[in-house]
Amino acid sequence: MTGNLAGILRKLGDKPWIWSYLGMILIWLATVTYTMGQGGGSIISAALSFATFTVIVGIGQMFVITTGPGNVDLSIPATIALSGAICMKVMDGSNAMLPVGVLIALGTGIAVGAFNYMLIRVLRIPPIIATLSASFLILSTAIAYGRGLKIKPPPLLADFTTMKIAGIPLLAVFIIVFAILASILLNRTLYGRSVLAIGQNMRAAWLAGINVERIRYATYTLSAILAGFCGLLLAGFSGGASLDMGSEYLLASIAVVVIGGTSVAGGKSNIPGIWGASLFMFLLVTMLNTFGASAGIRLIMTGLIIVAVITVAGGDKQQR
């Protein structure tokens, strides 16, 4: 009996995502103990709402990082800003235009993904610099297009993104289902398997007959499309688009991927960990706020915890 329990524990310990969930529970307990049981439920409800957006872009970032060292998408914040700005302006607060808005979010993603990949493939620019330079151009487009933007989102979109059933945000339920689908995409389909294979060894994957370039193109596009949708939903959630609404997702998207147990060297991914890590990050900030920590302390703690997690998790054989 005890041997069985130890076995189960060891098996759980092998799962890299377990740590983010453990950390999340510990932090929640610490916060609730501090408030003496006050607001424990509403903290979870808020965490689910806010973590949703990090999960959306985190999954896209995870696919990109999985394709191997050096692959990372730094254009996510700019894409969120651009998609949010165009969607709000075109929909102009009308429910009837909602399908158009969805198409625009999709289109923005496809365009950004193609542009990023063109820089990487045709100009042979390292992905970090390519997505960075692209993000400058994308952000400028968003600034020029969205100047003085003060348009409310369509009521239907606002309701959908903020609706809660028994304290559970509806959007979070959708994104949990989406995460399960993404997990199937990663582990059970030809595309997902190819992504993992390329991350483990690009040359071996190529020799095995995988169309490496097409898979990388699809991956950068997927990441950009998810960022586009994040822009649409975030604008609905926060009552309108703003140009800096994506900025916090640059670090967050990378951090949740790493804390969630995905290898930065590529070829090893973990989707449950992204949910755990996103909740962990939100609860961490909530805890520090509850404890009355100043902005400086909050920043230092966030940074130190990211560094501590990556140090404990350890690196792999390759870097970058």
Partner: protein, 320 residues
């Protein structure tokens, strides 16, 4: 001679200088009044801190790592310079030395645990920013008078009986480039340091300590980061925690514009300084062209892509 001038090798090494020259000519064409001592001084004044930050980034890139925290780090050292160094010089110097030691420690940590530098430095960027906010919660402080005196220094020397007064930024940039060039490109330990980026295994087999090399490179980056922060407050005379946030991007772009590569220890100190100058001038050029401020960021991204495209073209010609 003509063959040599048209060879890919020469064209690649000439590209940074040629880009700078073309940009300068374009500026003088659109705004002839810029062609003066005062004009050049004004346009180039921020070259010194940006060049120092670029050199710091270059040291990190030499050993195949990437520093996403150099901007907030420069901001932190600027805050220390404008507060502690002014009120309590001994304590201030100790704080700055501790910053350099922290960088060396990061290098050791990254080497010891074989960690991805992107994630570690991304986490550290929060720590630097947090400490800076604690030291200087609101913009302010005063730069020590001696730093302002150095940054306002007027160089004059005799050449063919004329008094020559080179703009200080150009003079300082040349000194930085020469010093780093002699240390990294001409000294025997410099060759080892660069070799550590080209083939780490060969270097450690030859008996050099990779740990020591990483710590040296990170400490050097820390030192140049500190110098960048101090020279920056010498120009602005006050500091702010967010004063140098953009420097992370500038420094990476500067190294790449100057002909540096992401991996393999292929870097060029003179190129990096020229790259930093090109970036500084690009800002002024866009203002002279009366490009709307909306597109400033985008145009910088565009210039970066353009130069990288030219380099891709040269490499492609070579490969053919």
């Amino acid at each position: 001679m003509k063959n040599y001038l048209l060879s890919p090798k020469f064209m690649r090494s000439a590209l940074p200088g040629v880009s700078l020259a073309i940009l300068l000519m374009a500026i003088f064409y659109t705004q002839p009044r810029a062609m003066s001592y005062f004009g050049l001084n004004l346009m180039l004044q921020y070259t010194v801190p940006i060049a120092l930050a670029t050199i710091a980034q270059m040291f990190i890139l030499t050993v195949n790592d990437l520093d996403l925290s150099i901007g907030p780090f420069v901001g932190l050292t600027a805050c220390i310079g404008a507060t502690l160094l002014q009120t309590d010089p001994v304590f201030g110097v100790m704080a700055l030395l501790a910053c350099i030691a922290a960088y060396a420690g990061l290098g050791a940590l990254i080497h010891w645990r074989n960690l991805p530098s992107i994630v570690v430095t991304l986490g550290m960027s929060f720590v630097w920013l947090g400490i800076a906010v604690l030291i200087l919660p609101t913009p302010g402080g005063t730069a020590p008078a001696w730093i302002k005196a150095i940054m306002g220094f007027k160089v004059t020397f005799q050449l063919f009986g004329y008094n020559v007064v080179p703009p200080f930024p150009v003079f300082a940039a040349a000194i930085i480039a020469i010093v780093v060039h002699l240390g990294l490109m001409r000294s025997s330990y410099g060759v080892v340091l660069r070799g550590a980026g080209g083939n780490p295994r060969a270097i450690s087999r030859a008996g050099w300590s990779m740990l020591k090399i990483k710590m040296t490179m990170f400490a050097l980056a820390g030192l140049f980061g500190v110098l960048a922060g101090l020279s920056l407050i010498g120009l602005t005379s006050a500091a702010d925690a967010h004063i140098a946030d953009r420097y992370t991007l500038y420094s990476i772009a500067g190294v790449i514009l100057g002909g540096g590569e992401f991996v393999g220890g292929r870097v060029s100190p003179a190129g990096a300084v020229i790259g930093a100058m090109t970036l500084t001038l690009a800002g002024s050029f866009l203002i002279f062209l009366r490009i709307s401020p909306d597109w400033q960021v985008g145009a910088q991204g565009g210039i970066l892509i353009l130069v990288l495209a030219l380099r891709a073209l040269i490499n492609w010609r070579e490969a053919r």
